[in-house]
Each structure stands twice: as C-alpha cells, then as structure tokens.
C-alpha cells in the first residue's frame, strides 16, 4: 500500500494564478513537465470531488484520469485569465456524474449530492459516539443541504469557494455566505462544549 499521505504532502504543487496561467501556456505548447505540475496541483482535489460523487475509490481514480485527459483536450478553450481549478473540477464532477449515471460504477457506496453529506454514512472509524461528535453530527444534519455540502467541500476536501461555486452552480459570494453560516453553526456546538470553542 502506498504511503499516500506522505506522497500527497510532498508531491502537491501549489500555484498562484499567474504561475498557473504560465503553466497552462506551457502545456498548450506541449510541455509534459508543465502538465505534470498541473496534475500534481489538482490530483488530490480532483480525487476528493470524484469520490464525493461516486463513493468508490477506484471509480474516483478512473474519473480523475479521464477528467485530466478531457481537460487537456479542451485546454485551448480555457480562459487563462481565470483560475484553472474551478474549470477543471467542474470537468471532474461532470465525469463522475456521468460515470455514476452509467452502469459502470462498482458496487460500493454510490453517493449523490445529498447522501454524500449524510452523517449516517460516515466511516465507522470516525463515528465514535462521544457526546461532542454526536452533537456535532446533529448540528451538521440540521444544516440546510447547501451549507452542509459547502462546509464539507471547503473544510474537509480543501476546495476554494470559487471551485465550489463552479461545482454547485452558485456565485462565489453565495458560497462564502453559506460557508460562514455553516462554520458559525458548527462553532456554536464547540463553544457549548468547551466554552470558548477551543
């Protein structure tokens, strides 16, 4: 089994928008090394998005692989003045949805957008019934679907608000408002348990 966490931490590339635009330009000119940088920058996020839709690791990997290829084919249509992440993650989400709609997905835990955030479907190893976690799960379940989705995509999967906005067809401002609302609601649970939330 690969040392996934170690690899992810060491291999992930972080690009600001200017650097990203330059890298995309190099990819358009046929630079394989630049393409590898893009892959390293977005591989983990792409997997997270695909996994949230498909609920199966291998299917998520397949969707990610197809998405990167599709993105490369369509790269000449990408507006380099805009960030690459939202554009690319939308491709990932569409691929994952198409894969889920087809019968090609493996037996597992296929997740749709609402069930992906259902606390009852969380892995066993993280569902210990401490009072705090129970209260937290309850608070999470009481959130409206959108804020719940958004806080998970942002705080668990590490997506930016612009990326979430593109995935969910919302404006970035709306995403940030939902995110703020969700974080405040969850923080109140912690404050109730610890007094100051720490």
């Amino acid at each position: 089994m690969p040392a996934a966490a170690d690899f992810v931490q060491s291999a992930v590339v972080t690009l600001d928008q200017a650097a990203e635009s330059a890298v995309v330009g190099r990819v358009l000119a046929g630079d394989v090394e630049a393409y590898d940088m893009l892959v390293r920058a977005y591989l983990r996020k792409a997997y997270a998005v695909a996994y949230r839709v498909l609920g199966h690791s291998q299917d998520a990997e397949d969707a990610v692989q197809e998405s990167f290829f599709t993105a490369l084919e369509r790269l000449n249509t990408f507006d380099r003045q805009r960030p690459f992440g939202p554009w690319f993650l939308r491709i990932v989400a569409n691929h994952a949805r198409n894969l889920r709609r087809s019968n090609a997905v493996r037996e597992g835990a296929p997740l749709d957008e609402s069930s992906a955030f259902d606390p009852s479907r969380t892995p066993d190893h993280v569902t210990e019934d401490s009072e705090l976690r129970a209260a937290f799960r309850e608070a999470l379940a009481q959130l409206a679907p959108r804020p719940r989705q958004i806080v998970q995509l942002a705080d668990v999967d590490g997506l930016a608000s612009t990326e979430i906005a593109e995935l969910l067809d919302l404006s970035p401002g709306t995403v940030r408002a939902y995110l703020h609302e969700a974080r405040q609601a969850l923080r109140r649970i912690l404050v109730a348990f610890h007094g100051d939330g720490s």
């Binding site: 291999a11 997997y47 690791s57 990167f68 942002a154 705080d155 668990v156 930016a160 408002a177």
Partner: protein, 148 residues
C-alpha cells in the same frame, strides 16, 4: 474577523474573508471523514495520467505555430516576392509616364489643349476648330466678304 462583503478580490483567499476555525475543521473531519486517500497509489495514478497525455502533448508540439508558419511560408514567400516585383515595375513605368506628361503640359500650352481635345498637333487642332465654321452659313458669309 474581516467583514464579509460578498466580494472576492483577485488574489485574496477564502480564509481571509471567512476564516476557518481549526477546531471546527478537525471535528468535522473526524465526524464526516475524508475521502480514502490512503487507498490511492498516487505515484501510479499520476504516472498514468501524464503517460496518457504524452501522446496528445507531442501532437500538440508538432502543431505549434512554427509548423503553420513553415508550411505557409512555402506559398506566401514566393507570392509575396512576385507581388513586390510586379509592384516595383508598375511604380517605375507609372512614374515615367507621369513625368513625360507633366513635361509636355508644362512647356506647351497647346499640349494642354491637345491633351484635352485629343488631337496631336497644332495644325490638326486649328483644323478641328475651323471645321464647324466652314459648314455654316455664317462662315460662308464671313468668307464671302473676302475677294476670291
């Protein structure tokens, strides 16, 4: 916390506008659970993705702008040279013609008349001027006043 405005200036991060609470994030991760990153062979997945792309990227290199320029140069350069040559010849001949015309007009006023009327010499010009007079009664009367 910075006031939330709904705007997202370029270059600012989400965290600057809606800062995450690390305790909320940690508890959320423990409750919801991250995707199973540990199941993925990241090196193999990355190598596979980049390997798939290599062929497409190679084709893209062959189709770069230099290829198009090289291809079109074979046609456009000879055509351009021929056009330049033709334009040069045209300019030279046109210049000569204009020069000779301007000399004639400037030196001889009759030349101007001949240019306007289309006749080529003074004699012909006089004949062409007198021709209408001969064919009228006025001209016969005028000529009849002279001794035969």
């Amino acid at each position: 916390m910075k006031e939330y405005t709904g705007k997202h200036p370029r270059g600012t991060t989400d965290d600057a506008l809606v800062p995450p609470d690390p305790h909320v994030t940690a508890t959320l991760r423990s409750v919801v659970g991250e995707p199973p990153y540990h199941l993925v062979d990241w090196d193999a997945l990355r190598a596979s993705i980049v390997g798939d792309a290599a062929a497409l990227l190679t084709r893209r290199v062959r189709r770069s702008w230099t290829v198009y320029v090289t291809r079109w140069a074979r046609t456009t350069v000879p055509v351009g040279l021929a056009a330049c040559l033709a334009a040069g010849v045209f300019v030279v001949y046109t210049g000569r013609a204009m020069s000779s015309l301007s000399d004639e007009v400037a030196l001889t006023p009759a030349g101007v008349l001949s240019t306007v009327t289309g006749v080529s010499s003074r004699t012909a010009l006089a004949a062409s001027v007198m021709q209408p007079l001969r064919s009228t009664a006025v001209s016969e009367k005028f000529l009849g006043d002279f001794p035969q």
